[in-house]
């Protein structure tokens, strides 16, 4: 067997597990990608939210600031020259103007002395605000001022103010102040639909908190906050992640400078809330994915184990089948339910059934019906208990005869101890069975003989050499029962050489100190019958080989020896028959191209016997024209080599051209790749030659028959040309008869030639022979010459009978021929038909077919000339022909 290829093969279980692992990685990767992108989406959404919220805050702030400014300008206008004495109704008028503004705005006018001259605040209690920043700032010269967060001293509300410097006559006259409470941002906050953790706010550029919703605990200085230290210097608007320094909540902060003011709008969106749904979704996904991953891993492991076990089993089965094919026994396998599912080719060969015809329970169809019940019972019992199965039954062969087989099967168990398969063998025990039957019969006969007291027993007096036989002994040896033959008379029946052999055996026994002796001796009876007798003897106590007494028994073992001999011969015959049939076997290892063959194999190829040889050795022996017929490396490796081929070889030892016929089969490995080629080779040269001889003969015969038919047809046409069938019948029959006689003469010589003498004698057989003389040297006629000679002689004979020398009582005919050399040394045949003593002759008046046959056909077929002379004493026909025709159709 070839080594397995070194390259690792992709087994199904590796592929399957690889595929599952790839799926696993895809799932993990996909999930990770999904979660990551979702995370960033969430984050971006929060940032966008914060950014857009800050924009809304900024827009509102800007709007509020602008409104406040316009309002304050209007207040300034309303006040008149003396702000301490505003016109009556001004307060109500202003209140009306701002009533639609958010943030519950209230207006205060404080003169330079600190007195509040006008207010829209109904709960106003007079207080001095000159120390307040919002007053001090405008007093110091700022046209407008936005305050930081203030806690109202009146009602503890969180408010902020926008104040305007009022000048009269170029002098600071006081401040107009508008306050907003936190409702301003609350509305914005609500319109943005933010959650409780998110805030909106306004900051002043110096870091002071102006307003915030939800409400802060109080005023705050945020100038050291990261917004002012990092982000604001970088960009006027943006967003960033932050952990609130006040409440520790994670937020995304969107900020934006409010154009035209010194305010910064803030929107802090709690990312915790936004990410809470992200995390909820993430955990939801993971809750699905993680079990799926675990399940996949488990499935991969399970699949791997299953497929690996499957691959191993298939490998084992393929291996098993190769072994099973190599076994001489019949091998089969069955499923655990007892249905047979596979047989080796030995079973099909023996039974003559086709593959598949015995599957399931169909195998019972080739079991002898008498043996089937027992076989079925035991098979069922073995299946039920799982113990080995053993039974003997007769199996029908392809020729319809039954032979005894011993069937055995054992269960194969898997790792869990369950039966996965039954493997069975059927061994041909027909010969043993027959032998055993006969041995048993022979033993039975022996027992019977002993029981009947018919034992052939003897007692020997060694000193006197006197033997005392039992009647059965004498019967066995063919003496009268009561006779007392001498020892020598018994021994005279020993076959030549047996006396010396028994002497040697007993001498050896004595040397060993044995008292017992048992030997099988061949005897020859006077009539030539051969018998094998087992002689067992024992010295009586106190006796020695040279003195005392011995007793013994003789048993006829001829039958047993005959059976043993038969067995030995039949084996030998088998070996000899294979050898004699000229069949040689060979085995080709496809991977290495090494051929191993039987002894006969090397002999057929004309090579010295050897263990093995490379296939290239044979390529030079096959004749070049047949090279492509044989298998080559490629067709062997692909398994496409033609199974049955015939080719010619030039034997290296004798130089003979021989025809070989080769039949072979492939053995494949479990992947279907051919491993080995088994074949038989036979020398079929003789069969080939016989076949081609036969073909040649058949062809030649067909040709001759057709040519002959053409001649018969020509004869018939010519004969009946100028006459009726009735009138021409006799002439036609005679002419055909002449053709027939020439044939007989030719057939006697294998259609090579015919003696002139024989042809003429046959063609004149119907003429009175005593008036005809035939004479000349031995001369062989070719088939063509023989036929035209027979026809011509027939014509001449018929003519002589009717009109010539044989038409009266006295005429004679002589037919002579001779071969002579002329002056140039060329040989010429001269043949003469001469009639004498007949009535006077005259040339015929019309030329008939007879004369055509004589003058033209005869001349032409002999390549010579014919002269017909009508002399008064009789007709003379002379044919003279050169024996080596100079021109037989040579091309010019």
């Amino acid at each position: 067997m070839a080594d397995r290829p070194a390259s690792m093969k992709l087994r199904p279980h590796v592929v399957a597990v690889g595929a599952i692992l790839a799926l696993l990685l895809m799932l993990i990767g996909g999930t990770a990608y999904l979660l990551t992108s979702s995370y960033f989406d969430t984050r971006r959404a929060v940032h966008d939210d914060a950014g857009s919220s800050s924009q809304v805050v900024a827009a509102n702030a800007k709007w509020a600031f602008e409104t406040a400014r316009q309002t304050l300008l209007r207040v300034d206008d309303t006040l008149g020259a003396d702000i301490s004495a505003p016109p009556p109704g001004a307060a109500a008028q202003l209140k009306e103007a701002i009533s639609t503004l958010p943030g519950q705005p209230r207006i205060y006018v404080v003169d330079a002395a600190g007195a509040t001259s006008l207010t829209t605040d109904e709960q106003f209690k007079p207080i001095d605000v000159r120390d307040r920043e919002y007053f001090a700032a405008v007093a110091a010269g700022e046209p407008f001022h936005v305050s930081a967060l203030l806690v109202s001293r009146l009602n503890s509300e969180q408010i902020f103010t926008i104040s305007k410097r009022i000048e009269r006559n170029g002098q600071f006259a006081g401040a107009a102040i508008i306050s907003f409470n936190s409702e301003l941002l609350e509305e914005v906050w609500q319109s943005l639909h933010l959650d409780g953790q998110s805030t909106v706010g306004l900051l002043r550029e110096d870091g002071q908190l102006v307003s915030r919703y939800p409400l802060p605990p109080g005023p705050q200085d945020l100038s050291q906050y990261i917004l002012f230290t990092t982000y604001l210097p970088q960009a006027p608007s943006g967003s960033y992640d932050a952990v609130s320094p006040t409440d520790g909540v994670h937020r995304v902060v969107g900020y934006r400078r409010v154009p035209g003011t010194n305010l910064i709008a803030l929107a802090s969106v709690s990312s915790d809330n936004a990410f809470a749904s992200y995390w909820a979704a993430t955990w939801g996904v993971l809750a699905l994915v993680i079990p799926a991953l675990v399940a996949l891993v488990l499935i991969a492991w399970g699949t791997f184990r299953l497929l690996r076990a499957d691959a191993r089993q298939r490998e084992a089965e393929a291996q098993f089948r190769v072994f099973a094919e190599a076994m001489p026994n019949h091998v089969w396998s069955a499923r655990p339910d007892g249905k047979l599912d596979w047989f080796n080719s030995g079973v099909y060969r023996y039974s003559g059934r086709n593959e598949g015809e015995l599957d399931g329970d169909n195998w019972t169809s080739i079991i002898h019906p008498d043996d089937l019940p027992e076989a079925g019972k035991r098979w069922a019992a073995a299946l039920r208990v799982g113990t080995p199965y053993e039974v003997q039954f007769r199996v029908r062969g392809a020729d319809g005869s039954y032979r005894w087989f011993l069937a055995r099967a054992v269960p194969l168990r898997n790792a869990r101890g369950e039966i996965s398969k039954w493997i069975g063998t059927n061994t041909d025990i027909d010969d043993e069975k027959a032998t055993l039957t006969r041995l048993a019969e022979s033993e039975a006969r022996l027992r019977l003989a002993i029981e009947a007291g018919q034992l052939a027993i003897w007692e020997l007096d060694i000193d006197a050499l006197q033997i005392t036989p039992s009647p059965a002994l004498n019967r066995l040896y063919g003496f009268p029962e009561e006779a007392t033959p001498t020892l020598a008379e018994y021994q005279s029946r020993y076959a030549p050489g047996e006396a010396e052999r028994v002497a040697a055996i007993s001498a050896a026994a004595v040397a060993r100190g044995d008292l017992d002796l048992e030997v099988e001796l061949k005897h020859v009876w006077p009539d030539g019958t051969e018998k094998w007798l087992l002689i067992r003897s024992q010295l009586k106590p106190g006796s020695t080989v040279s003195s005392g007494r011995a007793i013994g028994v003789v048993i006829d073992v001829t039958e047993r020896r005959r059976i043993e001999e038969q067995l030995r011969r039949s084996e030998q015959r088998f070996r000899l028959s294979q050898h004699a049939a000229g069949i040689a076997s060979l085995e080709v290892d496809i991977a290495t191209g090494t051929i191993q063959g039987s002894e006969k194999f090397w002999e057929l190829w004309g090579l010295e016997p050897r263990d093995k040889a490379h296939v290239s050795l044979f390529e030079s022996i096959v004749v070049p024209e047949d090279k492509d017929v044989r298998s080559n490396d490629e067709t062997r490796r692909s398994g496409t080599a033609t199974p049955n081929v015939e080719y010619r070889i030039r034997r290296p030892d004798t130089g003979e051209l021989r025809w070989l016929s080769r039949h072979m089969e492939f053995i494949h490995d479990e992947t279907g790749k051919p491993l080995t080629m088994f074949g038989v080779v036979q020398d079929i040269t003789e069969q080939k030659e016989a076949r081609s001889r036969q073909e040649m003969l058949t062809h030649e015969l067909s040709h001759r028959i057709k040519n002959m038919l053409a001649m018969v047809s020509a004869l018939a046409t010519q004969t009946l040309r100028d006459t009726t069938l009735e009138a021409g019948k006799e002439a036609l029959i005679q002419r055909l008869g002449a053709l027939g006689t020439a044939h007989d003469a030719l057939l006697g010589r294998n259609w090579t030639d015919a003696p002139m003498q024989a042809v003429i004698a046959a063609a004149t057989a119907h003429l009175p022979s005593e008036r005809i003389t035939i004479g000349g040297p031995s001369f062989a006629l070719s088939p063509k010459m023989a036929l035209s000679m027979a026809l011509a002689v027939n014509e001449l004979g018929t003519n002589a009978l009717k009109y010539g020398a044989l038409s009266n009582e006295t005429g004679r005919v002589s037919i002579d021929w001779s071969v002579e050399r002329d002056e140039r040394g060329e040989r010429t045949l001269t043949w003469t038909w001469r009639e004498t003593g007949g009535p006077p002759v005259a040339p015929p008046t019309r030329r008939g077919f007879g004369s055509l046959l004589i003058k033209r056909v005869l001349a032409s077929d002999f390549g010579g000339e014919v002269d017909v002379a009508y002399a008064p004493e009789g007709l003379t026909v002379t044919l003279s022909a050169p024996l080596e025709p100079p021109d037989a159709g040579a091309a010019p």
């Binding site: 062809h699 067909s702 040709h703 001759r704 028959i705 057709k706 040519n707 038919l709 053409a710 001649m711 018969v712 047809s713 020509a714 004869l715 046409t717 010519q718 040309r721 063509k784 036929l787 035209s788 026809l791 055509l852 046959l853 033209r856 056909v857 005869l858 001349a859 032409s860 077929d861 021109d887 037989a888 159709g889 040579a890 091309a891 010019p892």
Partner: protein
């Protein structure tokens, strides 16, 4: 028979009986017949008789040139001559029959004149 009148046919057959027999029959049908027993004689006859219009030849003949070789030579040297081949050995390959005309042995003169007519003679 009028169509055969004055048509000259060359019969080539080495078996004398067959040669004379078929020659006589063809004459009876109105042909003028020239006889030859082998290819060499046939070629000599063709050179001497320019009026030959039909060659009827056996395949199997002694000598270096058989009927098929003769047929090929005639087709080469005298293209207008129609050629009918006969044999007892079975039909030759179509490529060996110049006019595709073959009559197996045994044959009749009627068969020959019919084939000749079919060839347009």
């Amino acid at each position: 028979m009028t169509t055969m009148h004055n048509t000259t046919v060359l019969v080539v057959e080495d078996e004398a009986l067959l040669l004379y027999s078929i020659a006589d029959e063809l004459r009876d049908q109105g042909f003028d017949v020239v006889e030859a027993r082998n290819a060499a004689e046939a070629l000599r006859a063709l050179e001497a008789n320019p009026e030959i219009r039909l060659l009827f030849t056996d395949v199997d003949m002694p000598g270096t040139m058989d009927g098929l070789a003769l047929a090929a030579a005639v087709r080469h040297r005298w293209p207008p001559i129609k050629i009918i081949v006969t044999s007892g050995k079975g039909r030759p390959a179509p490529s060996a029959l110049p006019d595709g005309a073959f009559i197996p042995k045994p044959y009749t003169s009627i068969a020959i004149s019919e084939v000749f007519r079919r060839l347009g003679g």
